[in-house]
Amino acid sequence: MAELKITQAGPTGMITLRGDLSDQGLQELCTGLTGTGFPDRLGAETGDDTGLFWMSPDELLLLLPQDRVAEALRRIAEALEGQHHLAADVSGARALFTVEGAWVRELLAKLTPADLHPASLGTGQIRRSHLGQVAAAFWLPREGVARIICFRSVADYMRELLEVSSRAGPVGHF
């Protein structure tokens, strides 16, 4: 039974940005901050230690090293001055997990009603759904690796949920 590796990331900078996602200036601002492409609907664009995620038709999530958050917020405020938007530091509100291993899709499919079939959730896509009984967002930066964001207050639950489900072994479906 192939083991999965589950790790919780240390402090990670996260910014929620709500605004007009079709705005060219906003798109360039974001890609400039993350060094990634701009995500399509349901898209997840990831760099080495950054990410830019489509969270809803008017919401993005920016992933950055935590020490870059304050500056990023400043640059967002500057660039979008006079333009309706909301940028908020949510770094403290979240926990970030990484699961690695051959059957990571099946692990997630034990816990979320979202479709984990590769044809439905390709790499480079994000889903906001739930894992077990808590809200979660997750994406596969590449096959065999999943990253999961949940609320900080339920990080212990999430860790145990992932570990228990991992111990139960693969399903053999995908």
């Binding site: 908020a88 403290g92 034990k110 009603p113 439905s120 009984q133 072994g169």
Partner: protein, 1003 residues
């Protein structure tokens, strides 16, 4: 007596043996046996007792339809009751116990009920135990519960683990017989994502026993090659031991996979609940053979004809040496042939039809077996097993023509398609008179979001009979289901099928058709619940004409088998009694699950630490290690108080209150909701959300606000801070954070979608600490940084900046009546700040306090609490909060509702304080009683207690209450109810007891 045959049994491995125990005795069986076949092989025909009369019962079926052989399997923490021996695969050291018998299966005291069956007809319990009324609860019910019931619940926690798995497919096919396989081949070839599930461990279904030739070879060969082809398709998943349990709206289906029941040593989860989203579902669920209703048809040894040949062919087990076959159709002749092939004796085939000249009857005659047409069974002879049958004319009243000795009876009343899954979500049925069966009505399928049917029946479950029509029909269903999902395939050629043609059956609902009452009250319809033909007829006579009513009155089709054998026969009897045709009587509702699924599978991983997520604040670890006594608040666990030594949690709360009033307290307020609202229209939006005006709030200031539902009821409250020109931060109650955020988004997205407002729920980004008491400022100033003087930060102001080593936002707000600051820092800084404050405040007398102290502090101050003073029926005006309701604003959510006559009525119950004359603490939820009694003889009331505490500050009971015209009655004395009886006198007072002038908030 039943026994293992010398040869045969395609599923068993005769070279190996498993030892197992049943009711404490050791037996052996073979790998491939079910518990039922292994017991039968050991001569154990009696495998259960019936529910009501405790009659000895043997196997009737060989699959999930079995009503009698229910057992407890496993021991200790792995014991599970009500398992079907017919579907329980044998494994080494299996332990089973029979049920519903005392003291033993062979001798059951309760069987005396059977002798008294004449006085236990349908409705007996309803009629008998009505009087005297008080006896029901204390005498009748305990006795009935002791003697009734099937399995016993397990005594230990389940030692196994379980899990869920979500699968999304184009086509789900339920049933792995030749129909399911044919459908899967067609759907699979089209490229659609296909999941094919089969409840047993084996593929091929009945075809493997009944042996048609398919594609020029045996059914077995055909199944093997089908499985090979399917296995090679990357888009097809096959799962056996996986039972389709239910079909629900939007193509949702549940299935239970049993991974380790057949091999407990394997480890891993025992059951997996498949939660399937399918665009289309094909039900290839086969059919169930119907029993015939003749007298004493429940004796052990009377079995379904198909089951009898299953035991011979699949497991090499005979139910008896001499088997009489009784039938109304050709299919049962296959049993005669199978028995003859196995060298067993069939003294006679009794066929209720006037003639039987089809290929199968002819083949049976050719084997020298006697066939009698127009004949039936008058009654079966025997006490705890079959010793013979009495033959009669089917068209007569049961006069015995001949008696024949035998030790088994194989009966067949025809087949009922398994339409359960088709019906779960609203698929309708039609009655096919020629085939005497309910069939899925293709014109009225369960429909999905596209208005089209999303379930397609296939094969026998669609009413097909011959193998050729089964395959053709199933291929079509598989192809159509895939096409519905956008996958096309070219039609594959039908395989050649060789099998004997079958002549039509003759519906037989009573044997003989003119049977008198003495026979009818010995004809069992429902073996599990002991319902007989006479019971259903009695129910109809007593007016239970609806099939649903008759079911509940007689218990026909209830309990763990849900009438898989009894439903059609029962409603046919009802229909005859009512004189209305079967389709008009209709069926009872088919509800999930098809067969029972385990509680463990339903729970999945949600047990122990994962039973429910518990939300933890950044300081929770500190609370844990400092002995916090917790209380649940939503999914949070908040410290109720921090008891020291052997202090009670209440004593601790009292100490914490006093300390906060006299020195310095600290509360973990991180759980409070924090929603940021921003945009050019944010002020206008908040003026609608809150009852008071938020748009005029100055930057740097805070305002307390109320949120009502559109019906005017108070639903949340909290302090709003204006952060900058177009940004507000709204604090909500702990339980209100997600709800109020959703409320805001609801209005923004559906009503005011053109307003420029964005919200974000930042609750968890911050750790928030309330620093409360006369020394609060002194402590915070020791950290250095922000100027928190009264001039720089007045009451209801906020400031942001460095506070010691932290970037903090400090709100000068008070929920206690004391000088108070709430300090918010990023969550990951929360614990460090908490520790530093405790450390630096030690000499100031700092002490953490919990939610109970928080409640008492606010109650002494007369502050309301959402959920205590409100319960969804209370408007702000009831609570004297008129000051927080804007009269000037043209509108806010709830304004119109609050103007309704009942809401504006001065007669409403309104908030007051209550002081007991004896200083005692009133009971939670106690009523203020009024004169007289209502129509039900209950004491009239004029108010109720909403909050009640012992106040450490005043050393007496204090309470808040909603009282009829309360504020007009200050000084009056009222009587308040006591739990356990009596009343206590209380004086109506102003709810604000502590520091009415509000001076202490200034420190």
């Amino acid at each position: 007596m039943s026994a293992r045959l010398a040869t045969g049994g395609r599923l068993i491995d005769r070279k190996r043996r498993f030892g197992f125990r049943f009711d404490g005795r050791r037996y052996t069986g073979h790998p491939g046996d079910t518990l039922a076949s292994a017991l039968l092989a050991n001569g154990q025909m009696v495998q259960g007792r019936s529910f009501k009369y405790h009659r000895p019962r043997g196997l009737v079926g060989s699959g999930p339809e079995e009503p009698n052989a229910l057992m407890g399997i496993g021991t200790g923490a792995r014991f599970e009751p009500n398992q079907r021996a017919t579907v329980a695969e044998l494994h080494e050291d299996l332990v089973a116990v029979s049920q519903n018998r005392w003291p033993s299966l062979a001798f059951d005291v309760g069987a005396v009920n059977a002798r008294l069956s004449k006085v236990f007809p349908a409705g007996f319990y309803y009629k008998t135990f009505l009087w005297p009324r008080a006896f029901w609860k204390h005498v009748y019910e305990p006795i009935i519960r002791h003697s009734a019931g099937l399995g016993r619940p397990p005594k230990e926690r389940d030692a196994d683990t379980y899990e869920h798995f979500y699968a999304h497919v184009d086509v789900l096919i339920v049933g792995g017989g030749i129909a399911g396989l044919s459908a899967a081949l067609e759907a699979g070839r089209s490229g659609a994502r296909v999941l094919l599930i089969e409840q047993t461990a084996h593929w091929g279904g009945r075809a493997m026993v009944d042996g048609p030739e398919i594609g020029g070879g045996s059914a077995e060969d055909w199944v093997k090659s089908a499985l090979q082809e399917l296995g090679a398709m990357g888009n097809v998943t096959l799962r056996n031991r996986c039972s389709g349990a239910g079909v629900y709206d939007h193509g949702y289906a549940l299935a239970q996979e049993k991974m380790t029941d057949h091999d407990p040593a394997a480890g891993g989860p025992r059951h997996r609940l498949w939660r399937i989203r399918a665009k289309r579902i094909v039900t290839a669920t086969g059919a169930i053979e119907r029993p015939l209703s003749f007298a004493a048809n429940d004796l052990p040894g009377v079995m379904l004809a198909s089951a009898l040949r299953d035991y011979v062919v699949n497991w090499g087990v005979s139910a008896g040496d001499r088997t009489v076959i009784v039938t109304n159709n050709d299919d049962a002749y296959r049993t005669a042939l199978a028995l003859a092939d196995a060298g067993l004796v069939v003294p006679v085939v009794l066929d209720a039809r006037p003639k039987a000249d089809g290929a199968l009857p002819q083949a049976v005659r050719a084997r020298g077996i006697r066939v009698e047409t127009g004949r039936g069974i008058a009654h079966v002879a025997g006490k705890s097993g079959v010793t013979g049958v009495a033959i009669c004319a089917q068209s007569g009243e049961g006069a015995v023509l001949e008696e024949i000795g035998c030790d088994a009876v194989a009966m067949s009343g025809g087949w009922s398609p398994v339409v359960h899954l088709w019906s779960h979500c609203g698929g309708k049925l039609w009655w096919d008179d020629a085939r005497a069966m309910f069939r899925p009505d293709h014109d009225r399928p369960p429909t999905g979001d596209d208005g089209a049917g999303f379930v397609r029946p296939a094969g026998i479950s669609d009413g097909m009979i011959s193998t050729l029509e089964v395959i053709e029909n199933a291929m079509k269903a598989g192809r159509a289901a895939a096409r519905d999902c956008g996958f096309d395939s070219t039609e594959a050629a039908l395989p050649e099928v060789q099998e004997p043609a079958e002549a039509p059956l003759l519906p037989v609902w009573l044997m003989p058709q003119g049977a008198g009452i003495e026979l009818r009250e010995k004809m069992w319809l429902d073996y599990q619940n002991d319902v007989k033909v006479s019971d259903v007829q009695l129910a109809a006579r007593e007016g239970y004409e609806s099939v649903e009513h008759a079911k509940r009155y007689t218990t026909l089709g209830m309990a763990t088998d849900q009438g898989k054998l009894s439903n059609i026969n029962g409603l046919a009897v009802l229909s005859a009694q009512l004189g209305s045709p079967i389709p008009q009587v209709g069926t009872t509702t088919f509800r999930p699950p098809w067969t029972p699924i385990s509680m463990g599978a339903i729970a999945g991983a949600a047990r122990d630490g994962l039973f429910q997520p518990v939300r933890r604040t950044p300081m929770q670890g500190w609370h844990d290690s400092h002995g916090a006594a917790y209380e649940p608040v939503g999914h949070w666990r908040r410290p109720y108080s921090y008891p020291r030594g052997d202090e009670t949690r209440h004593a601790a709360a009292a100490r914490e209150v006093k300390n906060a009033r006299q020195h310095l307290g600290m509360l973990d307020a991180s759980t409070l909701g924090k929603i940021v609202v921003k945009g050019p229209d944010a002020g206008r939006f908040l003026d609608m959300i809150y009852t008071n005006v938020m748009s005029t709030l100055k930057v740097g200031r805070c305002r307390y606000g109320l949120i009502c539902s559109e019906n005017g009821f108070l639903t949340d409250d909290g302090v709003v801070a204006r952060i900058d020109d177009d940004t507000w931060l709204c604090h909500t109650t702990t339980g209100g954070a997600d709800r109020i955020h959703a409320h805001m988004e609801d209005w923004l997205q559906t009503e005011w979608w053109d307003w420029k407002v964005y919200t974000a729920n930042l609750t968890e980004h911050y750790a928030q600490i309330a620093v409360v008491g006369p020394q609060a400022r002194a402590l915070l100033q020791r950290l250095g940084g922000l100027d928190l003087s009264a001039e720089a930060l007045p009451f209801m102001g906020w400031a942001e900046g460095r506070l010691g080593d932290y970037h903090a936002r400090v709100f000068r707000i008070s929920f206690s009546g004391e000088l108070s600051f709430e300090v918010a820092v990023q969550a990951d800084q929360g614990l460090a700040l908490w520790r530093e404050l405790l450390d630096k405040g030690a000499d100031l007398g700092v002490m953490p306090y919990g939610t109970e102290a928080m409640h008492i502090l606010r109650a002494e101050k007369g502050f309301i609490m959402i959920g205590d003073e409100t319960d969804g029926t209370v408007i702000p005006q009831d609570l004297g909060l008129d000051w927080a309701i804007s009269k000037k604003k043209p509108d806010y959510i709830g304004k119109r509702a609050q103007a309704r006559s009942h809401m504006a009525d001065p007669e409403r119950w309104k908030l007051v304080g209550l002081e007991t004359s004896d200083r005692s603490v009133l009971d939670e939820g106690a009523y203020v009683i009024a004169d007289g009694a209502n129509a039900n003889g209950q004491c009239n009331t004029q108010g109720r207690v909403t909050s009640t505490y012992h106040s450490p500050t005043f050393d007496r009971g204090i309470a808040m209450a909603l009282l009829h015209r309360g504020p007009d009655r200050i000084g009056e004395e009222v009587e308040v109810s006591r739990i356990g009886g009596g009343t206590v006198t209380a004086r109506v007072v102003d709810p604000v007891l502590y520091d009415k002038m509000g001076e202490r908030m200034n420190g």
